[in-house]
Symmetry: C2
Subunit: 650 residues, 2 copies
């Protein structure tokens, strides 16, 4: 409640319409197994991946007793429905749609029917053996799924006021509270995949009921105290196979190697790490706990200063979809899951609640406009799971170590976490534009929009007018309807050296406080502010400790990282070179890929040895001049299967 | 029989002594589980790898009924004993050792006792269920093991005249002949791992019995005709688990995707490919079949011109220890198994029998002096399986995709194929120096030695005096004791542009026929020939189609590829650069690593970003001058755990 941000940005409206008109209906059909598409496996030749159908809605119908049958799909299949519901909630908040509302109310009824009497909610165990619930938490994803449901329920309640869905969520959370905690007789454990912690904190924010905050804190602080927890459960478990064997993964995979407050580096499954960090930072912001904030900062620094790709992607290896070690950022074998980039955005959002520092908003922008957005095709119906920085389709096909790196976006994947995650991210983008403290608003993202924001003493209205991410200025109209003076922090773009702000037409001297320039607006007053910045084409260099990027350059302009694609530059992109004195030119091409900024310049192409039959020679290969054409990274792979490269030899 | 080459080379004598005094006794202890060493797994965290002990001799004792117990180890554990026996045979041929002979005769008795009445020989099935033999050939390795035994038996017979071991081999081969072939009632199939074909051809060469030649040809020509063969067997199989599940590997893994004569590219498990090619080339040389030779040539070209590392290593991925695709040669995730380099040497040796072309001898030299030799530590007691071209120990430890790339040589591995393969290669090196046609001798390798070689009309003696691989000349004394004129082809080193030959002191005009300069020596005559060549430090460039090596250079001198090692050059070797105008100097350092050529020159080191806390910047990293020191690749990892790099930025 309270804050309302209406996004009018042309760039984002296109995406948000796509989600509403294409993605949400499409996902509905997938969840109901009527989409008529081929679901792809995440990795070739992996027999363990269930991909014949989604069956997600059918699982709920069976659990609700409406139809007969058995469970099909991953143990976390329920969460697909919840993430769909959450996206629907944001979509209804943006624009009411009676038909969609009807569908979602039916789904809520179905979920309520599938819920056990005591509040437990999970179709896998309801169908396959309720007696075994909570006993195989390494892979069961029960709390993970309920966490997603709680997020969806809070979002739906927030958008529509629907009490029923919130009550189902509270009942589920209460069941968890009854079963987990430090007290004797309760389970001293947690889920293999963090998410319930986020859900419980959101439920706390809306209900203010302390037990949800306590339970979230319990899960976070218990983690890592007993690294054997999952193995101990598995040794005793006799129930249905809930990703059995996953408990043999290293403790780091689950962030269960040591207590979170002692973790110095981001280890294990990248999505889990950033979900954990999101909850941890929310807890720090909510409680003001300094020690927890310090732990968040340590992990933030490790991720963003030593383990993050220039696209905002994270997760250096497909093995365990994990972090590896500092400065290890291979470009063609990494994971960089769309969900992980989204999770990093969640984390950044919570960090901004604790500390008003533009760095968080900048990383958010980097992940949003690059890795996360690349997760979806421009048609809104094809999705990347893995977001490489370098792709050769032949290698993806023939090298099993790269079979997870797909050169074109599939329609849907057996493990369908990313597409609905993107849907909820894009539909809730309004929540990422501003951060609100008692009397202060941080303007984090430049997005054309109209906002009404609730400060302690009343509302502030902010209108942003801008053609960002393409153009170089933002006009703000700020109206303080509250009873106190309001402070407005305008983020200064980190990628621009030439920034100006004028207030009511008069230039002001810039003062950067952690990357924000603050202006004050008296109670009842209005202000017109204008932010102008250059958006130069930048050459980005990586720390030489990252061996893969040595001697290479990545091109960016504004929030976008650019890449070379085969369709524009021919095959064997590695043979191309962009010399450091080559002039680069920017142009907006309205006919390309529904409107796209393009950067071009003179480069060189190495000539393959004269005869393809010689592998090693003692003469240096020669180069010929070649024109290089870069497009924004997020827009790659929308013109068929081809090579792609972000880091180019210089 | 016939040919005897006595190797006196200081360089090789050191290795051959190591094998005789260290490796053979050490392996004997391992095979008998009394070595007191820790056997390492090939990959971390792979539970399927049996590595508690070898148990290989014990398996034979159980199969022979001498002790009670059950089989332990891989299905191919027997071959460890056979490869040990083969190395012993060559070692006895070089230098009789009564104690070692006694041990080996006992082993032969043990093997004979373990052999079934009908000739079948395999401890796995003899112990676990003889009724299931030959029914799970995808992973059973029965024919593979018998192939290794036959090789050992022929070598032992050749060295000592022992008839018993040859008879055990013939009996085994006859059992295979009775069970496999095109006739009705026989199995229309072959082993998952090629090797029996090599053994049968060697048995044919010594016995001249046509059925062994026919059976080898049958196995080779049957392969690929029914890609479902292994899966059909597996569907029916009810016996003990013989690597069950391996039949699900792609058909290419087994070179079973299409008939061999139609295979255009080298596909699948690299060791299998080169073993297959070795037999195929032997068959072509033995029968003169042109179509088979063309198939050999196609595969040779694909391997050596498009899929071979500069070290002579092959196998671009750990997944299936396989080839991937043309020009895909990653330096830090490849397999480059020691056995595969040895197999490539076998293949080259057979190709030389068909076509007198120096290219084969050059590839043999490349693989021998680099990838194969790197498989063994200078102490003769530690071994690499995987021979990377770039290693960072931290990445091996923390990135599961590199856990197979070990930064130091383990004592022994669970799957112990490589060390005994190296032992037999080094002890039989005499067989690789020359190729003999009817009246022609090709001098392929420059190795200080005395040889008596049997031509059609009598013997030719060749003495080589050289300090190669370090020095730049070879003196030959050639004495033709045969009744006809002999042609001697002296290989011209492909890595030298300045080559001279003098005959009896007088320089001659060089005429290269496929890389050999031929001289004729009349019956009864003697000739003194001297080959002089420069051995410049070469900068090797890779075809730019190999993306990993673009902008990089590999240094070589003579047969040796050189590398940078951490102990000489500090950490973060990727930060080093060798500019193309930097002068390089060669020096032999007799105190380094028991005598080693060293190359040094001026280079530069990129400075890590000032603060380790910044990952991306817009200013180009700066360099500082640094001295680079290269050592031969084969000698790396003999001074503790550290980084290593072959391809250096230029």
């Amino acid at each position: 409640m309270g804050n309302r941000v209406n996004i009018t940005s042309e760039f984002w409206a296109r995406y948000r319409n796509l989600v509403r008109t294409e993605m949400i209906p499409f996902q509905w059909n997938v969840l109901n197994d009527i989409a008529g598409i081929k679901i792809e496996k995440e990795r070739l030749n992996d027999e363990g991946i269930p991909n014949e159908k989604s069956h997600a809605i059918e699982n709920f119908k069976i659990a609700a007793g409406r139809t007969k049958g058995t469970h099909y799909g991953w143990t976390f299949q329920d969460s697909d429905v919840y993430k769909w519901l959450e996206a629907v909630a944001y979509s209804l908040r943006e624009k009411m749609d009676p038909e969609l509302e009807k569908k979602s109310l039916e789904v809520i009824d179905l979920i309520a029917d599938a819920q056990e009497e005591d509040g437990y909610l999970d179709t896998f165990y309801s169908i396959l053996g309720i007696d075994y619930r909570y006993q195989s938490l390494a892979g069961s994803h029960e709390l993970y799924c309920m966490g997603h449901f709680i997020e969806a329920a809070v979002a739906y309640y927030d958008a529509t006021g629907n009490e029923k869905v919130l009550n189902v969520a509270k009942k589920a959370a209460d069941n968890i509270y009854d079963n987990f905690g430090p007290e004797e007789g309760k389970i001293h454990g947690f889920d293999g995949h963090e998410e319930i912690e986020i859900g419980l904190l959101r439920l706390y924010h809306v209900t203010k009921e302390a037990r949800y905050l306590d339970l979230a804190k319990y899960f976070l602080m218990e983690r890592g105290k007993n690294p054997n927890f999952f193995r101990e459960q598995a040794a005793k478990y006799e129930g249905p196979n809930a990703l059995g064997g996953i408990e043999k993964m290293p403790d780091t995979y689950f962030q269960n190697h040591k207590p979170i407050l002692e973790q110095e580096t981001a280890e294990g499954h990248a999505v889990r790490v950033v979900y954990m960090c999101t909850a941890l930072a929310d807890l720090a912001a909510t409680t003001g706990d300094k020690e927890i904030f310090e732990a968040c900062k340590r992990l933030w620094e490790d991720i963003t200063k030593r383990r993050m790709y220039v696209t905002g992607g994270i997760g250096s290896t497909v093995n365990g979809e994990s972090f590896t070690l500092d400065y290890d950022l291979p470009n063609d074998t990494m994971y960089c899951e769309t969900c992980a980039a989204i999770g990093l955005i969640f984390f950044a959002k919570q960090m901004l609640r604790i500390e008003p520092k533009a760095e968080y908003a900048l990383v958010m922008e980097r992940a949003l406009y690059n890795c996360a957005l690349a997760g979806m095709a421009l048609d809104g119906k094809h999705f990347f799971y893995v977001n490489p920085l370098e792709v050769n389709p032949l290698k993806s096909l023939r090298d099993p170590g790269k079979s997870h790196v797909k050169p074109v976006r599939p329609s849907w994947l057996g493990c369908a976490c990313c597409p609905p995650n993107l849907a909820r991210m894009i539909t809730s983008l309004d929540d990422y534009v501003y951060t609100i403290f008692q009397d202060t608003v941080l303007i984090n993202q430049y997005i054309d929009s109209d906002a009404k924001l609730a400060l302690t003493d009343g509302k502030v209205e902010i209108v942003q007018r801008t053609n960002f991410p393409w153009d170089e200025q933002v006009a703000f109209e700020i109206k303080n309807n509250s009873k106190s003076q309001a402070k407005i922090g305008i983020r200064l773009p980190g990628w621009s050296a030439e920034v100006e702000i004028s207030i009511n037409g008069a230039p002001v001297e810039l003062v950067s406080e952690k990357g924000y320039h603050y202006i004050t607006v008296d109670a009842g007053a209005s202000v017109e502010a204008k932010l102008t910045f250059s958006m130069p084409i930048l050459r980005n260099y990586c720390n030489p400790l990252v061996s893969e990027d040595i001697g290479k350059v990545a091109i960016s302009r504004g929030p976008f990282v650019y890449c070379l694609e085969g369709v524009d530059n021919g095959t064997e992109l590695n043979c191309l070179r962009l010399p450091d004195d080559s002039e680069l030119n920017y142009e907006y091409d309205s006919s390309l890929l529904s409107g796209m900024g393009v950067i071009s310049g003179k480069g060189y192409r190495l000539q393959a040895s004269e005869s393809k039959d010689s592998l090693y020679t003692n003469s240096k290969p020669v180069e010929k001049e070649a024109k290089l054409k870069f497009i924004p990274y997020f827009a790659w792979a929308n013109r068929g299967e081809n090579e792609m490269e972000v880091w180019v030899r210089e």
